[in-house]
Amino acid sequence: MSAPGADPWREHRLAENVALFGRVLRRAGLPVGPATVVDAVEALIAAGVGSRDDLYWTLHAVFVTKRDHHAVFDEAFRSFWRARGLVQKLIAMLSPVAPPRAPAEPPKAGANRVAKALFGEAAADRVVEKPEIEIDARMTFSQKEILQARDFAQMSADEILYAKRAIRDLVLPVDRVPSRRKVATARGREIDLRRTIRASLRSGGGIIPLAFREPKTVHPPIVALVDISGSMSQYSRLFLHFLHALSERRRVSTFLFGTRLSNVTRPLATRDPDEALAACSAAVPDWSGGTRISEALRLFNRDWSRRVLSGGPIVLLITDGLEREGLDGLARETDRLHRSCRRLIWLNPLLRFDGFEARAGGIRAMLPHVDEFRPIHSLAAVADLCGALDGSAAERFDPRRWLRQVA
């Protein structure tokens, strides 16, 4: 017990508790560093704590830097601060009336992660219901979502060889668009006045050597939507290697879809390709499950298109297009996607068959809305993908050709 009149904040170990809370959040996956904890303590001292709500929103203001983190924070806050009765203590210190206790609520999103972060693996199951395998009655061709983290980081020697060769051959000659930024050039149309003045001062203003500038050219960003259903998984795996190599040179956003849509841009940004793919597979629960293309595109259009389709990207859609239901929806969503990007390129492994005809309903629904229709039928085709990016679309990749054949 400290002497009367001591700093009440110190007495209740505010800093330690905030630091502990920060560690819980970090273990639950929020990017919380030591500086953030210092900020949180500062914020609490600045705001004072009038009620549970104020404490909540004060910490929220500092620790939450993304909308997605809100649910995790919410759960952590409830578990951490209520479990220890700290809110009551803090508020009792500063207010004459004790606040009413909040009634217990059912577990929310993020509960599992937070429970693990707080109590370790053993306690997690006590807090949340046991995980269930989801069975989706609407899926006729693959009834179960296979919840497994398949190890696709282990490529065969051939695959590695081809991937490396493709990466080495990666030449993107005309795949550049002018940006609105300017760079200094030796000669050009526009005079760079700033450099001109500086250069002229070097000679005391006697000579004015003109310096020029021109728009910088950049690679347009790439957004890849990769189907990882059972029939596609072997192509997808190799394709991810390609995307990984590509992401070292330009902005690439990657999404995997099977029965769900997952953004794997961050896991894929890990430097080492094998680690990157392992991180991807860990992040995706439905590897080699069924697929719902229409639903995946709808989710992408609704939740992600505005966030990743800035800067006029090229969208690579890798799927076999074998969708049997909701064809109207599929056509509409593909059309929406097509209208919000620079170019939509569809890579379909079914094109490996010589007698391929665009008869399947899903394929016919999607084909009118893509700019290019290409095979990715063999490992060597990975190298061909570089051609898909350079913008020189050959007539044989025109989707209308396939539709004419069917008609």
Binding site: P31, A35, T36, D39, E42, A43, A46, A47, G48, G50, D53, D54, W57, T58, H60, A61, V62, V64, T65, K66, R67, H70, S179, R180, R181, K182, L193, R194, T196, I197, R198, S200, L201, R202, G204, G205, G206, I208, N301, R302, R306, R307, V308, L309, S310, G311, R332, R336
Partner: protein, 304 residues
């Protein structure tokens, strides 16, 4: 001129005086941002009132608003400062004519404050006439490219700008910075790290009604209630772009202009374009949802 609020409640009052109906979460984060001198990073869908917060702050605190509207290709020359090249050129010529040959002297003269054209960020670092820092609104930061964010780091962390030829300009009192983004791309963590973050969500029915009453006093009470109920119903549908508060206000104002006292399906159909900005959404709502929603709104009104 008003002093900064000293508590969360005072912040709520301040926003209220400016005609902004805020919830406690927003007031808390705003209060902290003012108290801790941290930039406020507001993210949310278009039309939920992010920019408005900066305007209200400027109006109620009596500080000038300096607005930097971001766009692709925005660079330091348009955001921070630029040199007045023509004047510099003349100055060099004069120096030459006067026979000055000392290069350092000419350089020192030419790169002085006289030839500096101040753009929004540099202006925001200077105190205003009565010595208070202004409100700096960096609007739609997601429109600018990633390279621009790097410029901002120094400004946001230390309220200073380094000009190579001139030196470092540091604000005596950091400006009140509000950054908004519509999330058309993710902003780098390094930048978010220097700010206090808040997701501005669509308001609930009660708060939206309060906003509507404040902003469109001309709308009849029944109409206002129905408009809010209808818009809240629309947001529950699976639309490509749900209507924001700005759209609600526009719609209520439009209906008030048409002398409407209550919603009817025909009027709603005719004025959907005020609320929804995508043809797909309009078609979807017009084909069947309008009648159902209006019916529901009327039933609720009758019950409540």
């Amino acid at each position: 001129m008003t002093d900064l609020p000293q508590s969360i409640d005072a912040t709520l009052d301040l926003l209220g005086r400016g005609g902004y109906v805020a919830d406690r979460a927003l007031a808390t984060v705003l209060f902290l941002s003012l108290k801790m001198r941290r930039p406020l990073f507001l993210e949310g869908e278009a039309g939920v009132g992010k920019t408005e917060i900066a305007k209200v702050l400027s109006a109620t605190l009596g500080r000038p608003l300096i607005r930097l509207q971001c766009y692709e290709g925005l660079d330091m020359a348009s955001a921070v400062y630029e040199w007045n090249y023509a004047a510099q050129m003349v100055e060099i010529r004069i120096a030459e004519a006067a026979g000055t040959r000392d290069r350092a002297e000419i350089a020192g003269d030419v790169f002085s404050e006289r030839f500096l054209i101040k753009r929004p960020i540099l202006k925001a670092l200077e105190p205003t006439v009565d010595g208070r820092s202004p409100v700096l609104l960096i609007d739609e930061l997601d429109r600018a490219d990633e390279a621009f964010e790097a410029f901002l780091l120094e400004v946001l962390a230390d309220a200073q700008v380094t000009i190579p030829e001139f030196g470092t300009v540091k604000a005596a009192e950091p400006p009140l910075v509000v950054i908004t983004t519509n999330r058309t791309r993710e902003i780098h963590d390094a930048l978010k790290r220097r700010c206090l973050y808040h997701w501005v969500d669509y308001p609930d029915a009660e708060r939206e009604l309060a906003i509507l009453r404040t902003k469109v006093p001309g709308a009849a009470e029944t109409l206002a209630r129905q408009v809010v109920a209808f818009v809240q119903g629309l947001r529950a549908l699976d639309l490509f772009k749900a209507p924001g508060v700005a759209e609600t206000l526009d719609w209520a104002a439009a209906l008030a202009e048409l002398d409407k006292l209550a919603l009817d399906p025909e009027t709603v159909s005719d004025t959907l374009g005020v609320l929804l900005k995508y043809q797909d959404d309009i078609a979807k709502v017009r084909d069947g949802e309008v009648g159902r929603l209006v019916e529901e709104v009327r039933r609720k009104a009758a019950a409540g």
